[in-house]
């Protein structure tokens, strides 16, 4: 058993991954939403599959990527989107809109209850009110808004998004849209003829012109509302909405094949004709793979990426590995330790797949926004921690890898709430060289700081609460922490200075005292203080641990805190929701520091032999004191 347990754990984990990664099957009598979900469209400046549009929109509106209906059935995001696009009256009954703020509910005369999801049909009597209230709070800076104002603005934005989606591929009140288009197409040539006559001053048939004008007005309306740009230009560099393309048809006197295809897909879905829907969706997919081979390849891959959901899976594996590694300190050490290591390798592989996939999809270096920084910080820390585990083989590196991997991915998960995490980059950031060097170096520095802090936490928690912190373990923890702080110093410094050089290239000043720059330099300064304090003999083992934990505080301030100030070039919006978490984290770290400052006699690990501890503490790692200035 001892020998087979690690392998067994690995095989079970692989089996679990395999089952959830099987390609989605479509039942015979159901619409083929897999094929439909892979069709490329342009939203937010990026070509993406409809599946991504569905997931992101549902995330913005509903806060989740799946929707639970009133009858407790769960439907997927693409199912919801298809309903919204083609069967609006059904989708209007879905409880998608989140309202938790009591004042917003009070606006409609509703009392706060267990229910927090409401349907469009329920909200429709209050649309005007919501719009007015939301517009007022939209005028305020995000920092100035009260909870009510933010909530009502969010609701308004969600409703607007929902309405725009409904009118993206067809007017929301269209029933037999294919037929409507036929009528429109038939009306165009006579209208064009009449218009030509009018221009020349000849007699013309006004009725012909009017019938076309009514259509055009209708399509201009949906062109103005469209959220999805569905029709690519022949070169693929420009995309247009269905509405725009229909208005444009006046000139070409021809209806674009994509528009026709969407009309047929929509009609089939609307009346519940599964076979026609599947057939038309497949045809449209084929059209795209012929006309837009690159876009289609990418969107098919993105669909797969969405389905595989690598980060959630690696999150689960990280937790398991963390628990196994912690368990290994209590007993049955080798098998648990091994199993943890195997699971971590698997988790890292899945994590890496996710990271690389995102780079492929975005054609960018790994870190482009706060979300991807969380993914990357976790990834970097896990790798360094696994290297430590290979060197020391005592489960500490493994526990750190599991914990940091899990926590950073959880953070990333919560940062994804604002929609597309593969968003386009602001002009200034549009440079792969600096993103690949400055940003990667800085975030690697963050990774190392958090890893050092994590090691210190293990030292303190094991030392204070358990008897498992033997001298040997304590020494190796101290060495690891020191090494990781050195690593952090190097990367934070280089990253910070590279940022300065980027700023010099872009804005003409090396240093602008922007909050994010200040945050970075705080990390560098703190690293310098730790290293000099150690070299100068001001701190020993425990002092190093306490300082490394404060490194967590500094790094979290630099990573998140400065963004909350809402000033400067790096501010990505005020993150009200994250603020209590940040404060909570900082308080917990300060509490740990106080705990660590307790006399060593009160540490459980050291209580038995205080004398021995003192000796060790005084002579800690003399051989590792580097040749400093002294």
């Amino acid at each position: 058993m001892k020998r087979f347990f690690p392998l067994l754990a690995l095989v079970l984990a692989l089996a679990w991954l395999a089952t959830s990664w099987l390609p989605p099957k479509v039942a015979q009598d159901e619409p083929d939403l897999v094929t439909f979900g892979k069709i490329p469209v342009l939203v937010g400046g990026r070509v993406k599959p409809l599946d991504t549009v569905a997931r992101n929109s549902l995330l913005i509106i509903h806060g989740k990527e799946t929707l639970r209906l009133a009858n407790a059935d769960q439907i997927t995001a693409i199912h919801w989107l298809a309903d919204l696009l083609f069967k609006a009256e059904t989708a209007d009954e879905y409880p998608v809109f989140v309202i938790q703020n009591a004042e917003v509910l009070g606006l409609f005369g509703w009392e706060q209850s267990d229910r927090k999801y409401f349907s469009f049909a329920e909200l429709s009597p209050f649309l005007k009110q919501i719009d007015e209230q939301g517009e007022q709070s939209d005028k305020l800076e995000s920092v100035q808004r009260s909870a009510y104002q933010s909530a009502v603005l969010n609701l308004r934005n969600a409703l607007i998004l929902c309405q725009r989606l409904k009118n993206s591929l067809r007017p929301q009140d269209a029933h037999d849209f294919s037929k409507e288009l036929e009528t429109y197409a038939a009306a165009l040539p006579p209208a064009a003829h009449a218009a030509g006559q009018r221009e020349k001053g000849e007699n013309f048939d006004k009725a012909q012109l009017d019938s076309a004008a009514a259509f055009i007005e209708r399509y201009e309306n949906i062109a103005n509302m469209a959220y999805i740009l569905a029709v690519p230009s022949p070169q693929g560099s420009q995309w247009h909405s269905i509405g725009e393309t229909l208005v444009e048809a006046v000139r070409t006197v021809d209806i674009h094949p994509v528009v026709k295809a969407y009309a047929q897909i929509g009609d089939a879905y609307h009346v519940g004709d599964q076979r026609a829907f599947n057939q038309q969706a497949a045809q449209l997919r084929d059209w795209f793979s012929k006309e837009q081979p690159n876009a289609t390849k990418r969107t098919s891959f993105e669909f797969l990426f969405n389905h595989v959901d690598p980060f959630t899976h690696s999150m689960v594996l990280y937790v398991l590995a963390f628990l196994l590694a912690c368990g290994s300190w209590l007993g049955w050490t080798r098998p648990l330790n091994r199993a943890a290591f195997y699971l971590l390798l698997l988790a890292l592989a899945v994590h890496t797949f996710g990271l690389v996939s995102r780079m492929y999809l975005q054609e960018r270096p790994p870190v482009t926004n706060l979300y991807s920084s969380a993914i990357f910080i976790g990834w970097g820390a896990v790798i360094v921690a696994l290297i430590l585990e290979r060197i020391f083989r005592d489960g500490i590196g493994a526990a750190c890898a599991g914990a940091i991997g899990f926590i950073t991915l959880i953070i990333a998960h919560h940062l994804a709430g604002s929609g597309d995490t593969l968003e386009m980059l602001q002009a200034v950031l549009d440079t792969n060289i600096w993103l690949a060097t400055h940003v990667v170096a800085i975030t690697t520095g963050y990774s190392a700081m958090f890893l050092a802090g994590m090691l210190a936490m293990i030292y303190i928690i094991r030392g204070v609460f358990t008897r498992s912190l033997k001298k040997e373990t304590a020494d190796s923890l101290s060495r690891m922490t020191y090494g990781v702080v050195c690593f952090a110093t190097l990367f934070s410094f280089v990253g910070t200075v590279l940022g300065g050089i980027w700023a010099d290239q872009s804005w003409g000043r090396f240093w602008g005292w922007d909050p994010k720059e200040n945050g970075a330099v705080l990390i560098v300064l703190w690293c310098a203080i730790i290293l000099h304090a150690r070299w100068g003999g001001f701190i020993k083992q425990r002092g190093l641990m306490i300082m490394a934990i404060f490194g967590n505080v500094v790094t979290s301030f630099s990573w998140f805190g400065v963004n909350m100030l809402g000033v400067g070039l790096h501010s990505y919006g005020f993150m009200q929701k994250a603020f209590p978490w940040l404060v909570g984290f900082i308080v917990s770290q300060l509490a740990l520091m106080v705990l660590a400052a307790m006399p060593l006699e009160r540490w459980r690990s050291f209580r038995m032999a205080p004398g021995a501890v003192r000796r060790k503490d005084q002579s800690s790692n003399l051989k590792f004191v580097p040749p400093g200035l002294a």
Partner: protein, 391 residues
């Protein structure tokens, strides 16, 4: 005594104290940006010897914390002194020496930049040509002799001079300028607005209809001071008190747009309070400004200014494209795409003259090499020892 002092300024404790103080200062200065804006917080916290409380404009103020220049200066002295005292060459110390040498270059360069770098703006409408840039943070009183139709003779009096001296004389001016009143920040209102009986100070030009109220200094992110002065023009040779020889008192203000004109000694003069100008020996013409967005979004993709650079001295006449992350470097100055005005027609270029801009580049390489050598040395030593332990 001297030995004690030397010990102090070369001590590692002082280094640590400086680093800790720097952290506290940067933290406080960052938080202060929320209310003061980046520029003002930078002035008070980082580009000063002390942080004062209360800031300014009160009867008293006391230094409550060392400012950026003081901490940086002490750190620099500490670094240099410590190395001068204890330096001895050894290969195993190469990393440490490199790191600290790089840091000295960086700190010195930073201090130098703070003292000597000049930032200004060039605002260009489509087709416009300019041979100067402006500093919107500092004003100047321009006295322009426009008699010659071909050539304007400009005498510019900086804001700081107006603030400090009562009487300004200059060889290029056949008159004295007496500063009757100076307002660092002000509000202007028409005299008949609310029927108050306050008399305008000025008796010439549009200023004669205007009452000036002093205002507290602007601290907001997008606000700036409205600098105003009341000046009396007295021909050279006349006594201050000889009211009959005075040409009158004018109000010059950032808030009064157009220049005001008067005549004296067969010359026509203009007075205008305007952002301080830096004239160049060359001119820049904006051909076209482009602002690209990602399809279907408002997210900016690129800003670019197509300009023509004409420099008769160097026989330069060429087109240049300035865009994101691609500035123009010319004759010691660097032009960056900094912004644009709402209609996407006007481009704002940031113009920076920073004689020490190479310092951080050198410092970065030196420090990074130092850290690599230092930590690499440890890592090799550590793994060698570890291998012996395991064996």
């Amino acid at each position: 005594m001297l030995r004690k002092l030397v010990n102090l300024i070369t001590s590692l404790k002082l280094t640590m104290a400086c680093l800790a103080a720097a952290m506290a200062l940067i933290f406080a200065g960052t938080i202060a940006q929320v209310h003061l804006g980046i520029w003002e917080a930078q002035q008070r916290y980082f580009q000063s010897l002390f942080v004062w409380w209360p800031p300014e404009g009160h009867g008293f103020r006391i230094p409550i914390f060392p400012g950026g220049h003081l901490i940086g200066g002490i750190l620099l002295i500490n670094l240099i002194a410590a190395h001068a005292k204890r330096f001895h060459w050894a290969w195993r110390k190469l990393g440490i020496h490199l790191t600290h040498a790089g840091l000295i270059i960086m700190l010195a360069g930073g201090l130098f930049t703070d003292l000597f770098a000049v930032e200004s703006h060039m605002r260009l409408g489509s087709g416009e040509t300019r041979n100067y840039s402006e500093d919107p943070r500092r004003m100047e009183l321009a006295v322009i002799d426009t008699t010659d139709a071909e050539l304007d003779q400009v005498t510019a009096i900086p804001e700081a001079v107006l603030r400090q001296s009562r009487t300004i004389e200059h060889q290029s001016l056949p008159f004295r300028i007496v500063v009757r009143n100076f307002y660092q920040n002000s509000r202007l209102r028409m005299v008949n607005e609310n029927g108050s009986n306050i008399k305008p100070i000025a008796n010439q030009g549009p200023g004669a209809q205007v009452v000036v109220d002093s205002a507290p200094r602007a601290t907001g992110v997008n606000e700036r001071d409205v600098v105003t002065a009341a000046i009396e023009i007295i021909p050279t040779g006349a006594a201050d008190s000889a009211a009959d020889r005075s040409l009158g008192t004018w109000l010059v203000s950032d808030a009064l747009g157009a220049p005001q004109t008067f005549s004296w000694a067969d010359h026509t003069w203009q007075l205008v309070m305007r952002p301080a100008r830096y004239y160049k020996p060359y001119s820049v013409t904006l051909q076209k400004f482009t602002h690209e967005r990602y399809i279907g979004t408002e997210i900016p993709k690129n800003f670019a200014s197509q300009i023509t650079l004409i420099d008769p001295e160097q026989a330069v006449n060429r087109n240049v494209l300035i865009y994101m992350n691609h500035p123009l470097r010319y004759r010691g100055e660097t032009y960056y795409q900094a912004g644009f005005e709402k209609d996407d027609k006007t481009s704002i270029l940031q113009v920076v003259r920073n004689p020490s801009f190479v310092a951080p580049y050198i410092a970065c390489i030196v420090v990074a090499a130092g850290l690599l050598v230092q930590f690499g040395y440890h890592l090799v030593g550590f793994s060698r020892r570890r291998r012996t332990v395991l064996a």
